[in-house]
């Protein structure tokens, strides 16, 4: 449903194309019929497994066929030794390894992978982590991959020291961010790891994190996520005024370089408001705020409704 280029009327009416469609339909339907018939007959042989492989290669979205595949495997496990079961599941993983690269966005395939590992007598979670890392070379912000990585780590934590794993993952996200400051998936993962790390070594880690996000903001002032992350870090600080002032300084400096920096303007307004929350507002300050909002309107015409609401809030101060 996503990312496929439209064909013209001529292309669609082309006789060669139509013939081709006919053949492909026939091929697909015969494989589909075979698999569903085998399932209705409650057959669970290795031939049946092979038919599902062929069918799923054509269409990995057939959730019922993935279910059937698991039923077949569950059936073949009966009476097998641990080693034999492991071998069967290794083969299954091999099959998925090939298909997942072509269908990195298929929910069913990731589910199936999880099922394989969950049923393995001796799953190799470190190998799984390596695979995910390889997939990130194809798509560094694939959320299935990142979700799966977190799942893998939760499993590794069952046998390894939790602190060690979390610290290692924290370094891993740093590596990904060094490759690309705008990898928001890596920043997101960091936001899940940081609170755990802060439980033990707050001061130094937190200030390093602030430094790192400031670098990200400077490298792309138009990255909303970097600003959001900075804002989120404020929550961990006891002395919030220092952070508000820091935010104001960064925003002011960026605005000198780039007067139309939207998030710099938004942050300037936000942290000034936060800093002076309990103070009476002078007409001069109010005028400044309204001027920021007007500049935002000119830069960002898509969100006039937002700026109107902001203006109303400032007027009511």
């Amino acid at each position: 449903m996503h990312g496929r280029t439209r064909k013209s009327k001529e292309e669609l009416e082309d006789s060669e194309y139509l013939d081709n469609q006919k053949q492909e339909i026939a091929r697909y339907r015969s494989k589909l019929d075979t698999v569903f018939q085998q399932r209705n007959e409650k057959r669970f042989t290795s031939d049946c497994l092979k038919s599902t492989s062929e069918l799923l290669n054509l269409n990995p979205e057939l959730n019922t066929v993935w279910n059937y595949r698991r039923e077949i495997l569950n059936e073949t496990f009966k009476g097998l030794s641990k080693e034999e079961k492991q071998q069967k599941l290794n083969d299954e993983l091999e099959y998925i390894n090939v298909s997942i690269k072509k269908n990195i966005k298929s929910y069913w395939m990731w589910n199936h992978r999880q099922w394989i590992l969950a049923n393995m007598p001796s799953p190799n979670w470190n190998q799984e982590a390596k695979l995910v890392d390889l997939l990130f070379k194809l798509d560094a912000t694939n959320f299935h991959g990142w979700d799966y990585r977190r799942y893998v780590m939760s499993k590794i934590q069952e046998t390894e020291d939790k602190k060690v794993v979390i610290n290692r993952e924290f370094l891993y996200t740093k590596k990904k961010i060094d490759q690309n400051f705008a990898n928001h998936s890596a920043w997101h993962y960091r936001s899940k790891l940081l609170p755990v790390i802060l439980e033990n070594e707050k001061e130094s880690t937190l200030s390093k994190e602030v430094e790192m996000i400031i670098q990200a903001i400077y490298s792309d002032p138009d990255d909303q996520n970097a600003w959001l992350y900075f804002d989120w870090l404020i929550g961990f600080e006891v002395e919030k005024t220092t952070m508000y002032n820091l935010g104001i300084d960064i925003a002011s400096e960026l605005l000198e370089l780039e007067p139309n920096s939207k998030y710099a303007l938004l942050s300037l307004l936000k942290y000034n408001l936060a800093l002076n929350e309990n103070e009476p507002i002078s007409p001069e300050t109010k005028k400044n705020y309204l001027e920021y909002i007007n500049r935002l309107r000119n830069i960002d015409s898509l969100r006039l409704g937002l700026y109107n609401d902001m203006e109303e809030n400032v007027m009511n101060l």
Partner: protein, 334 residues
Amino acid sequence: MAEKLLVEKHVEFIQKLDKSQNELEYWMTEHLRVSGIYWGLVALEILNRTDALDKPKVIEYILSCQNPDGGFGGHVGHDSHLLYTMSAVQILAMYDSLDKLDKESVLKYVESLQDPETGYMMGDKWGEKDTRFAFIGLAICSMFGDINRLKVDPIIEYIQLSMNYDGGFGSGPGGESHAAQVYTCVAALAIAKRLDIVDREKLSMWLCERQVEHSGGLNGRPQKLPDVCYSWWALSSLDVLKRLHWIDSKMLAKFVTSCQDADFGGISDRPGNIADVYHTCFGICGLSLTQYSEENLTLSPIDPVYCMPTHVVERMGLSHGPNGWRNYVPESWK
């Protein structure tokens, strides 16, 4: 590039879906036919052309997709899953035909998918957990007037654990924010009357930033390309948060209409791509939320929580009224 909504073309496109056996796509999407009909019917409802589908035939087909476990598969003979059970119930609700269903059998199926240990919702008996299923579980039970068939608290806890630093929600605890998952969480919280949990300002800011400069379309995550379906996922959430006016409707309409297939009807994810019923539905739904209109064309309003026409949700007493989601507004929003 068309500037107007090609209503007749889209109606034809949806009607033809059932007669396209000479196209491979027809067979490749067979496993989600129930959802396909749901998307088509919603689009037709919004275009005020409900009668374009053969109601008795559709109902008969939908009923034939129910399995002995009480759930629905995406097509006859396919395994039950919450995704298709939701579509089936929505179709019957739109046709005012829920009474044709053994209500108890469906509720039992949904109930069986609440993990007895954690209380989190699963998509099917194989156990996948996701915030989508939290929403669907609550939505189906509320449509049958029996939300307490599920233990609501653990479901809310699951959604709360899926909330992120940017104010958005992911597919589960630890998952990255994604506009479609945001919709499922916001809608679930609306049904459970627990919208007090969301960080309204932060989330609304994140959502309105999904509208992309120049094209006017919305993306699902930062730095991704705009895609018509987010006209629904992001806008419906903004509507529930009462911040729909934070995006530019005219620019959005420009994007959606530019994704129409002027020859064969239907709307695609992006300009120039193959149209499908999913994007046709959510493009039109997004336009309905923004109250898009043309001379001689008004769209029927859509409910941002249940993704069905407002008149249907009102008739079921799920919008206003004591059981309706609109009946509750968190204190801090007032």
